[in-house]
C-alpha cells in the first residue's frame, strides 16, 4: 500500500525518448526494501529527504524474507554474526532473543523496523526497477514496471538514487566438463530450502562458504551419505569461543588494537587449542592465514566430520554419467549435487561503466558505495563484512544522506570533500591480505571499514547536522 506518489503534478511532465518522465524533484529513489534499502529510506527521511523506494517483491525483508521464492534462505538458517554485530545500531534486537537468532526472527525484526519508523508508506511494492539512467543534469531517470510484468513502464526523475538491490540473488554457477551428461540431480544452493530435499539421498555439497558448510551439516543428519568438496583448506571458526560468541571475543582483541599479525597468531593458537588439528579430520591445511578468507562460523561441521557423517573431499575435476571425479582422482557417486559456490552482484538496470565496473563486472567505488563520476548515485550494502552487515549499512546510508545534504547546502565544501575522497576510490578496507578469489574483492574488516565511515562522517558532519535539524 503506497500513497507517496499520489501527489504527482502532471504539469511537471518532462520527456525522454518520446516517453513522459514524471519529475519527483528533490525526492531520492531507493531500489530494494531489504535491510539496506530500509536503512536507506529511514536515514534519508531522517535527514529531511522525500523518498520513493521500489521493491519488486510484495513485502519487505529482502534475502531474509523466506516467503519470496527467490530468497536464498533455507529452513535452518541461523545468523553467523551474533546480535551486537547484526542489529542496526539504533534499533537493538530484543534482549530475549538468542545470540544467533533464526532467520524468521530477522524477518520479523525487519518488519518491525519498517513499522516502527513508518517506512512502508514510502515503498512501492511489486514494482521492479528496470532502468536507471543519468538525466542531463545530476538527476536520474528511473524506469519501473509492475513486477508481474503486466503493467506498462513508467519513468520518474529523481534528485538521487540509492541502489540497495542486494548481492545474493544471481547464483555463481560453476562450469564442469561432463556436467551435461551427469544423470544425478544438480542445483545451486539458492534453490535449496529444506532438509526434506536431502533425505535418504547421497549428497555432494560443493563450496566451503557458510552456505556450503550449513548445507553439509544439514545433509549429515538427513542424507544417507554426505561429501563436502572444497577447493582449499579453511579456518572453521566455532560459534562460541571461551563460552562467548566468537565474534565478540575477536572484537575484544580488535578493541585492544592488537596488530593484525598478533591477532592472527592468537586466533590460530585458540583454534588449535579448541578445535585442534584440522588435518586429523581429513581436511586440507588452509592455504592462507586466519582472517584472509571470509570467516566461516560453524560449530557443527567438525562435529559431523568427527562422526564420519560428513566426508571431506577435494575440488571437483569433472562429471561423468553417474559419477563425479575429484581432483585427487577419486570418484564419488552422488544422486544430488548442491553447488554452494556463492553469488554474483548484478546491476542489470544500469550501464556497467556508471559504477566503474572492471572486466569482471566488479564496481570500483569509494567506500564500496560512491562511484567516481556520479555524485548523486550510491550503492548501499555491497559489502561482505567479517561480521554482520546491518551496522555497516546503517552508517553507510547515514553517510549517503549527509553527503546528499551537503551537496544541497554547500557545493564548495562538498567538492572539497570529494576531491579528497576520490583518491580512495577502489580502496579496500581490510588490513588482512584476503585471498584472491571470486568473492573477496568486497570483503571488508568491519573495524577498518567503520573507522573509515567515521572519519568521512566527521568530515561531512557539523554543518550538515544543524542544517538537517532546521528542516524539521
Amino acid at each position: 500500500m503506497s500513497t507517496a506518489n499520489d501527489s504527482f503534478d502532471p504539469s511537471t511532465t518532462l520527456w525522454r525518448d518520446g516517453r513522459p518522465v514524471y519529475d519527483r524533484r528533490d525526492t531520492v529513489c531507493v531500489v530494494g526494501a531489504g535491510a539496506s534499502g530500509l536503512a536507506a529510506v529511514k536515514n534519508l527521511r531522517e535527514h529531511g529527504f522525500g523518498v520513493d523506494c521500489y521493491e519488486r517483491e510484495t513485502s519487505v525483508g529482502g534475502a531474509w524474507n523466506w516467503r519470496h521464492d527467490r530468497s536464498p534462505i533455507y529452513a535452518n538458517t541461523h545468523l553467523i554474526s551474533s546480535k551486537p554485530f547484526t542489529q542496526f545500531p539504533d534499533f537493538p534486537m530484543p534482549d530475549t532473543w538468542p545470540d544467533y537468532p533464526h532467520h524468521s526472527q530477522l524477518l520479523s525484526y525487519l518488519e518491525r523496523y519498517a513499522e516502527h519508523f513508518d517506512l512502508n508508506p514510502h515503498v512501492w511494492f511489486g514494482t521492479e526497477v528496470v532502468k536507471v539512467e543519468p538525466a542531463d543534469d545530476t538527476s536520474w531517470d528511473v524506469t519501473t514496471r509492475s513486477a508481474g510484468g503486466a503493467g506498462s513502464e513508467r519513468t520518474h526523475r529523481y534528485l538521487a538514487v540509492v541502489l540497495a538491490n542486494g548481492h545474493n540473488w544471481a547464483p555463481k554457477q560453476p562450469a564442469y566438463e561432463g556436467l551435461d551428461e551427469f544423470r544425478g540431480q544438480t542445483m545451486h544452493a539458492s534453490a535449496y530450502k529444506d532438509p526434506k530435499e536431502l533425505r535418504g539421498r547421497r549428497v555432494l555439497v560443493v563450496g566451503g562458504g557458510n552456505t556450503g558448510c550449513d548445507i553439509a551439516v544439514e545433509a549429515a543428519t538427513s542424507a544417507s551419505q554426505t561429501w563436502h568438496s572444497t577447493r582449499r583448506g579453511y579456518w572453521y571458526l566455532p560459534k562460541y569461543l571461551l563460552g562467548r560468541p566468537a565474534d565478540q571475543v575477536n572484537d575484544q582483541m580488535q578493541a585492544a588494537r592488537l596488530p593484525l599479525g598478533v591477532r592472527q597468531w592468537l586466533a590460530a593458537r585458540t583454534l588449535r587449542l579448541t578445535v585442534g588439528d584440522q588435518g586429523r579430520f581429513g581436511l586440507p591445511k588452509p592455504d592462507h592465514k586466519v582472517f584472509e578468507t571470509h570467516p566461516i562460523s560453524n560449530s557443527q561441521l567438525m562435529y559431523h566430520l568427527g562422526h564420519g557423517t560428513i566426508t571431506p573431499v577435494p575440488d571437483v575435476r569433472r562429471f561423468h554419467r553417474s559419477a563425479v571425479e575429484l581432483t585427487d582422482g577419486r570418484q564419488v557417486e552422488p544422486d544430488l549435487v548442491v553447488f554452494a559456490t556463492g553469488y554474483l552482484p548484478r546491476f542489470e538496470f544500469l550501464a556497467p561503466e556508471i559504477l566503474g565496473a572492471d572486466e569482471h563486472g566488479r564496481p570500483t567505488l569509494y567506500l564500496h558505495a560512491f562511484p567516481r563520476t556520479y555524485p548523486t548515485l550510491a550503492v548501499a550494502g555491497l559489502l561482505q563484512p567479517d561480521s554482520g552487515l546491518f551496522p555497516l549499512v546503517h552508517w553507510q546510508t547515514v553517510l549517503i544522506a549527509r553527503w546528499l545534504r551537503l551537496r544541497d547546502r554547500d557545493l564548495a565544501r562538498a567538492a572539497a570533500f570529494w576531491s579528497r575522497a576520490s583518491a580512495d576510490v577502489g580502496k579496500r578496507w581490510n588490513r588482512a591480505r584476503v585471498k584472491d578469489s571470486t568473492r573477496h574483492w568486497f570483503e571488508v574488516n568491519h573495524i577498518d571499514y567503520l573507522r573509515a565511515l567515521q572519519s568521512a562522517l566527521d568530515e561531512l558532519s557539523p554543518a550538515t547536522a544543524t542544517a538537517a535539524r532546521s528542516t524539521r
Partner: protein, 269 residues
C-alpha cells in the same frame, strides 16, 4: 566535536547483559495514531510506579499510549547492584525499540541523564528532560547543602537518602509524602559514581527536538543547571514555580505534564 559515534567496541565485545524489566502501561480508550507513544523513565531510586501514580493515566486520557520502565535494579525490575549507567540506557532503548512506533522519551531527575544517553542510541520522536540531574560535583554540592547526612554517604559510594523537602512542595499532604519517601530506593553505587563524574552525553541521533522542564524551587537541580541543560539542546527551560523536584508526584503534577503533552501536540513530533 564529532557529531555521531560509530565505534562502540565495548558494546560489541561486552554487550550489556539482558535483564528482566518492569514496564507499566496505560492505553488510551480511543487510540489516536497521530500521537506517538511516550516512554517515561524514572530517576535514581524511583521506579515506574512514580509515573503510575498520575502521569500514565493522564497521558493516556489525552490519547497518548503511555509507558513507564523501571531500569534494572529499580521498581520491580530485576535487582542489579552493579549496573552501570549504560545498562540503564540500554533498558530504556530496549523498551523504546519494542514499542510499535517511534517513541518520545521522557526522563526525570537522573533518569533525564539516562534518557540523554538513550537519545544517542535511539532516534526518538522527541526527548523531554524533566528536572534533569546531569550530575557533576555541583549536584553533589547542592544536595549536601540541603541534606548533608542523607547525601554524604553517596560521595563515598554508599546509600543516598533524599529528604522530603528536596522532592516535594509543602502542598503535598504529609502522609502522602511520607509514603512516597518510603518507596524510594537507590541506584547502584557504580551508577551514582558515574553520575558524579558526569560524562557528557553524546549528541542525540536523528536530531530529535528536546524540551527541558523544571522548577526554580527545585532543591536538587539548581536553576543554573536547568538553563545549562536546556541551552545544550538549544532552548530555554519551561518552569513551574512552587513545585518540588518530583514533578510527577508533587501536588500540582498535572501542570508540567499538560505542558509536555501540549508541546508534543503542537510540534507534531
Amino acid at each position: 566535536m564529532t557529531s555521531v559515534r560509530i565505534m562502540r567496541n565495548r558494546d560489541w565485545a561486552n554487550p550489556v547483559p539482558p535483564a528482566r524489566r518492569e514496564v507499566l502501561t496505560a492505553t488510551p480508550e480511543l487510540p489516536d495514531d497521530s500521537k506517538p507513544p511516550v516512554l517515561f523513565v524514572p530517576g535514581f531510586g524511583h521506579g515506574a510506579w512514580a509515573y503510575a501514580e498520575h502521569w500514565l493515566e493522564h497521558a493516556a486520557g489525552r490519547g497518548f499510549a503511555a509507558h513507564a520502565v523501571s531500569p534494572r535494579g529499580h521498581g520491580n525490575s530485576e535487582p542489579a547492584p552493579k549496573a552501570e549507567l549504560r545498562a540503564y540506557a540500554h533498558d530504556v532503548v530496549q523498551v523504546a525499540a519494542g514499542l510499535p512506533r517511534q517513541a518520545v522519551l521522557v526522563g526525570h531527575g537522573a533518569g533525564a541523564l539516562v534518557v540523554a544517553h538513550a537519545l544517542a542510541r535511539y532516534p526518538a520522536r522527541a526527548g523531554v528532560l524533566a528536572a534533569p540531574v546531569f550530575g557533576g560535583w555541583a549536584t553533589l554540592g547542592l544536595a549536601l547543602r540541603h541534606n548533608l547526612f542523607g547525601t554524604l554517604p553517596g560521595a563515598f559510594g554508599g546509600k543516598v537518602r533524599v529528604g522530603r523537602r528536596q522532592l516535594f512542595s509543602r502542598d503535598l499532604p504529609e502522609p502522602v509524602a511520607r509514603d512516597y519517601l518510603k518507596r524510594i530506593g537507590h541506584a547502584s553505587r557504580r551508577a551514582q559514581w558515574e553520575l558524579l563524574r558526569s560524562r557528557a552525553p553524546e549528541e542525540p541521533v536523528g536530531a530529535p527536538p528536546v524540551l527541558v522542564v523544571g522548577t526554580p524551587d527545585d532543591r536538587v537541580v539548581p536553576r543554573s543547571a536547568l538553563d545549562r541543560v536546556a541551552a545544550r539542546y538549544g532552548g530555554a527551560p519551561l518552569l513551574f514555580p512552587g513545585m518540588g523536584h518530583d514533578l510527577m508526584l508533587d501536588a500540582r503534577w498535572p501542570e508540567p505534564l499538560d505542558a509536555i503533552l501540549d508541546w508534543l501536540e503542537k510540534g507534531d513530533h
